[in-house]
Subunit: 277 residues, 3 copies
């Protein structure tokens, strides 16, 4: 596979997505129970191959046959957290990208501590909402309300930058505008729709898609992340346009359809990625 | 938030729902694996905030930040049952409402025993189908067939009353007519559609919605429960009316849409709640 | 219930399905987390009754009240594998059919070993994709890529026959053409659509439907399996024909609708089952 040289552009977005489809990466997901169905369906619709495996005696072998790892902190328990750490360390050993979704970070002490333990396992990318990123960065420990965000994404940008620098990773903050940063550069993505927040695990699924996109541009995880955000958000916009009603049930169906059906012209006309700093 | 004075009426139904949306209660759900996706989506669509967390070391803290707790007995295991009891006791300590869904009570001795243990933790509301309520009340231990009801809701009304009196809780029996009782008063709800029984965990999700509704009228759990039943049932009726086909796949999509989109006029014209005793 | 004498025909297909609906078998499913929602919905839509229960202290009792058992090896862990073996042995003791879905067999050593342990528990039917059947038969241990098939179903026919003979069971290999064999006879099914492979756990759900169909023709598990494959595949074809878009989100909705709504004329005109050897 030729190396891709991504630009923060809609053109590049389509190009990367096609490279992902050509590669059909196996994304090993250790995720919360609520998200499993939609996450697997999002990956399949977008042209990737999902695998859910969490057993302590199997996760390292699964990382070995996968292209990337997704670790999501929802519905955690001690044994699952142990498996997540094992898998993350194996991914780093093997030089495979892994992406952390710190669901509900800040909601409880156990949750926050577990997220920090995973952060110490050197993720390639961290994706959360503003409250989660704020909590994870230690910039704020309050204001998190279950797994929904109570802060705007812009409020968490400084925390995201600090996190990115301190942990040498890419940090993405989802919101009305999505921000992606390596600590210095900031790329903004203006795709998506508010109704997505009424579909459970939409954000979790998006993080899995980021893992898939990074496999096709491993040298450019910042732009790969931004491109995944744009594709997912645009699929929601297009889906909503075609849905019979502006409801979360219809949007979920149409989102999956669009992740399979969106064409080059739509992506080139609709992806809104820009360098902000 | 001003106190709501509910009446068994469609007017009151809309008013309570709006109060729920204004409050956006965080409903902590410890539920079966099958139900997690649709339950979270039902809560989100209706204007609430779901959180699934089951770890023994985290459930008490989660109850602390939640408005209500939902405990569902499906796909049980010893560790999960322990977490459910811990969470339920914490809810009682903190004066927060909690709702029990005794899925499959009567199907196996372990199941029945576990349901009884939770019943002893003083739920605010219990919601089940007729067979489950009959089994739970000890009025009958047979006739339960997996998690589907084999008895009509009317058959379980006396058992429901006994249960309500003995355990000082509200008991709701779902069926063609839903009955809600505190042991003396009985309110009936005539919304819903038979096709709902072909959507897995529709009943489980409804119980979670009851938990949300009770948070907005904590002094009137009987009427809050009836109102939740009416809203959910009406959303199914309206959804079916708008669905392209009368199939369970389409109904599930439209149900979620309607929980987000139903307007005041529809609720006022369609909710069918009446005092029966 | 009168005994059914199945033929490899579309007529027979409808007749068996009606017998299944009349029986409304309770199918006890011990399956992976990803599949639970769609599997339960597929069984309900097709006229069966699902029950998910996995606890070591409850599975044997659940087998006792069920008509059939489905064991799926996805998202395995030591405790769940133990429960699966316990349930499978109980099913054999009670003379109830049980069906094995060796998800991801060959992907990791633990996975393959666990699948072989279940195979030793004498399943009535084994259903997998070509790679899984090849791995399970020991005909090949490589080439398995997560839970997706990388081999064509025809490539696994010999392995399927060997497996069927050695383990005295029916083996079904899913693919563009589905093959079902008892080691000697081979029946082919030409229903289904490629887009089904983009719906997570569609295959898992199909295996659960096989378990349901076998309950209504326990003396003819080979044909019952072929008939289940035809009904499921045809529901997907019909669903796709009616879906607003050829996407996996819409197909999933329409598939569930069609499993509820398909009529006799459609099944008789569309089921494509033939004796191949």
């Amino acid at each position: 596979m030729p190396t891709i040289d991504l630009k923060p552009s809609a053109e590049s977005c389509w190009e990367l997505w096609q490279a992902v489809r050509a590669k059909r990466p196996l994304v090993h997901c250790i995720t919360n129970f609520v998200s499993m169905d939609i996450m697997a369906n999002v990956l399949l619709a977008a042209g990737c191959s999902p695998a859910m495996a969490h057993s302590l005696d199997e996760v390292e072998a699964f990382v070995g046959i996968s292209s990337a790892l997704l670790v999501n902190m929802g519905t955690l328990s001690p044994e699952w957290v142990a498996a997540k750490k094992l898998a993350a360390r194996r991914a780093v050993e093997l030089g495979k990208p892994w992406v952390l979704d710190p669901v509900g970070c800040g909601a409880t002490p156990v949750r926050t501590a577990s997220c920090l333990q995973l952060l110490d396992c050197r993720p390639t990318v961290v994706r959360g909402n503003a409250s989660e990123i704020l909590a994870l960065a230690g910039a704020a420990g309050s204001g998190v309300r279950g797994v929904d965000s109570t802060a705007a994404s812009r409020d968490a940008l400084e925390a995201a930058k600090q996190l990115a620098v301190a942990h040498k990773c890419i940090v993405a903050v989802s919101g009305e505008v999505d921000y992606v940063t390596d600590g210095t550069a900031v790329v903004g993505v203006r795709n998506g729709h508010e109704l997505l927040t009424l579909i459970t695990a939409a954000g979790c699924s998006l993080t899995a898609l980021i893992a898939a996109f990074v496999t096709a541009a491993p040298q450019q995880p910042l732009l790969a992340t931004a491109h995944a955000l744009a594709v997912f958000g645009l699929a929601a916009e297009e889906g909503l346009r075609l849905a019979p009603r502006p409801g979360p049930g219809s949007l979920r169906v149409a989102l999956l359809d669009m992740l399979h059906l969106m064409d080059q012209a739509t992506v080139k006309a609709g992806a809104r990625i820009e360098v902000m700093a």
